[in-house]
């Protein structure tokens, strides 16, 4: 019988304690924010959308190899000895035309593993997190700066050059051989040695968040 009365008393009392807690919280300011109107500042290390600064890319394929979900696709073409592709901001000499640099951001798992091996620090994660699209193929970002017309001509030029070189070699060997068709891709990761340390502008941490407008056809 005592237990019966004790149970009733404890129940009522614990209900009242709970009600006091919730009533106190009625007057505590909310911790939530109104998201689209108010946005929190993301910390410096925020890992969101990938961005590639193509001016610095040397086509070394390190990021493609590091990606655990294979969301980066890179295709490169060797440049001609006569062509000068310039120097990256970290002082690496660019030797390859990057004819394809696609990131399927829908596959990306935001692990950041592609960021660390990059020798020129040209691939990094930005603080942009609002990039939903209505079609899945719109999420395949194409970072190549070359236009659609340029890519075939570069490929042709290099193929012709390699054909010529092959023909020359063949001629030099004085053993006429049919010229081997050179492959348009050079899959081997050709990492050029860093040349003179002409460290021009240090890369700023503020990231241009311009979404790549070109989309994969």
């Amino acid at each position: 019988m005592n237990q019966y009365f004790r149970d009733i008393f404890v129940s009522v009392w614990s209900v009242l304690i709970g009600m006091a807690v919730t009533f106190r919280h009625l007057f505590i300011p909310a911790v939530t924010i109104q998201y689209p109107d108010v946005k929190l500042k993301l910390p410096e290390r925020a890992r969101n959308r990938l961005y590639v600064n193509m001016d610095d890319c040397i086509g070394c394929l390190q990021c493609e190899i590091a990606c655990p979900v294979n969301c980066i696709t890179i295709d490169t073409v060797k440049s001609l000895p006569t062509e000068d592709l310039g120097i990256t901001s970290t002082g690496h000499k660019k030797r390859l035309w990057v004819t394809q640099f696609d990131i399927d951001i829908a596959k990306c798992c935001y692990c950041g593993l592609c960021v660390y091996p990059c020798p020129t620090e040209c691939i990094y994660m930005t603080d942009v997190y609002e990039f939903s699209e209505f079609k899945r193929h719109d999420l395949i970002y194409n970072y190549v700066t070359l236009t659609k017309d340029e890519i075939p001509s570069i490929k042709n030029r290099t193929a012709e050059y390699e054909k010529e070189q092959a023909a020359k070699k063949a001629a030099a060997a004085a053993q006429p051989k049919p010229p081997t068709p050179a492959s348009s891709t050079s899959g081997s990761p050709a990492i050029p040695k860093p040349s003179v340390a002409s460290d021009g502008q240090s890369k700023t941490s503020t990231v241009t968040t311009q979404p790549p407008s070109e989309k994969k056809a």
Binding site: M19, H25, L26, F27, A30, V31, T32
Partner: protein
């Protein structure tokens, strides 16, 4: 009010229609407001903001937008459902909860029907709700819905006993079943309210009534018929669109009905707490509605504080706690009145 209408109009049918529609004019906006209030109260108790966008100030139009959305929704009826019962159930539930408003005095000048057995009528008519819930659960042809309906039936039927017993205390003290007369007995300052008389028996009876009414309206901690973490939605799982909205409306109408009955019987209904200060038919409406809304708020407060009871514990509370204590109150009040 009825007399005024009789002076203007001749047609009895017309008069009764007007009289019947007046509570609806309160219940519909009230339901919109209460749903919004529930969301705001819950949000602020949980350190959130709740709806803030629709309509400008603190999202006041959120429920309007929700209703518009529900109206546009497709009315989905399961193929294996009992079509007729499935269609009828939400209406029966709403009629059950709305019919209780007929004898609730909103003011000294307005009561839907000033009948002598008002309280008895309310207890009787509010039981219709359980028929509608059973119809909904059975006709949905869904095991989870049936669970919800069976739980609801068991719960509402057993909680009607402590409710009726607690109300019996009031009837013993006032000697009438007419709610308007019960109100008139409590006129004057707030110590004339029944709640503060024959302490503590009436006070305990009021607590019993309030707890039991929570169970009758299926509110937490007695919301097992629609327990969302067990039965997902209970008896209205298979309802969509406006039929679902009707269940919702009925729940909120029921919440106000039980609060209003509690306010009328124990807290003086439309009486001002301060004697003649701010009293009169119009202020009466104000006092009545504020008292009702206060208990609606307490119901919300409890809902966002407490966990849910289990079925057997619910029955334990009804039969072994509330019912004996209600009997004790009756005996106490009876002895007090004899002495």
């Amino acid at each position: 009010m009825e007399q005024v209408l009789r002076d203007i109009f001749d047609n009895h049918f017309f008069i009764y229609t007007i009289m019947a529609i007046i509570p609806l004019l309160w219940v519909l906006p009230y339901a919109l407001f209460a749903v919004w209030l529930e969301r705001k109260v819950s949000a602020h108790m949980q350190d959130r903001l709740g709806p803030m966008r629709v309509g400008g100030w603190h999202g006041w139009a959120q429920t309007l937008a929700d209703i518009l959305k529900l109206i546009q929704k497709e009315d989905i009826v399961p193929k294996a459902a009992d079509q007729k019962l499935h269609f009828l159930a939400p209406f029966v539930v709403f009629i059950g909860s709305y019919a209780a408003f007929a004898t609730i005095p909103f003011s000294s000048a307005y009561i839907g029907s000033n009948i002598n057995i008002g309280l008895f009528y309310i207890i009787a008519v509010s039981s219709i709700v359980v028929v509608g819930i059973l119809m909904a659960g059975w006709s949905s042809n869904n095991k989870w819905s049936l669970f919800g309906a069976m739980r609801a039936a068991a719960q509402i039927v057993s909680y009607e006993i402590p409710t009726a017993l607690a109300l019996l205390v009031v009837i013993m003290m006032t000697g009438t079943l007419n709610l308007q007369e019960i109100n008139q007995i409590q006129t004057g300052w707030f110590w004339n309210w029944l709640l503060f008389q024959k302490f503590p028996f009436v006070f305990i009876a009021f607590i019993i009534y309030f707890v039991a009414s929570l169970a009758e309206t299926n509110r937490t901690p007695f919301d097992i018929p629609e327990a969302e973490s067990e039965l997902v939605a209970g008896y209205h799982t298979e309802y969509s669109g406006m039929k679902f909205a009707l269940f919702f409306l009925a729940e909120y109408a029921n919440m106000f009905a039980v609060s209003a009955i509690g306010a009328t019987l124990f807290l003086g209904g439309w009486n001002s707490p301060f004697g003649n200060f701010l009293s009169g038919p119009v202020w009466g409406v104000f006092w009545f509605l504020s008292k009702g809304m206060f208990f609606v708020f307490v119901q919300m407060w409890l809902r966002w504080t407490l966990p849910r009871l289990r079925v057997d514990q619910l029955m334990y509370v009804s039969w072994k706690v509330l019912t004996p204590w209600a009997f004790a109150c009756i005996v106490g009040v009876g002895l007090w009145m004899m002495i």
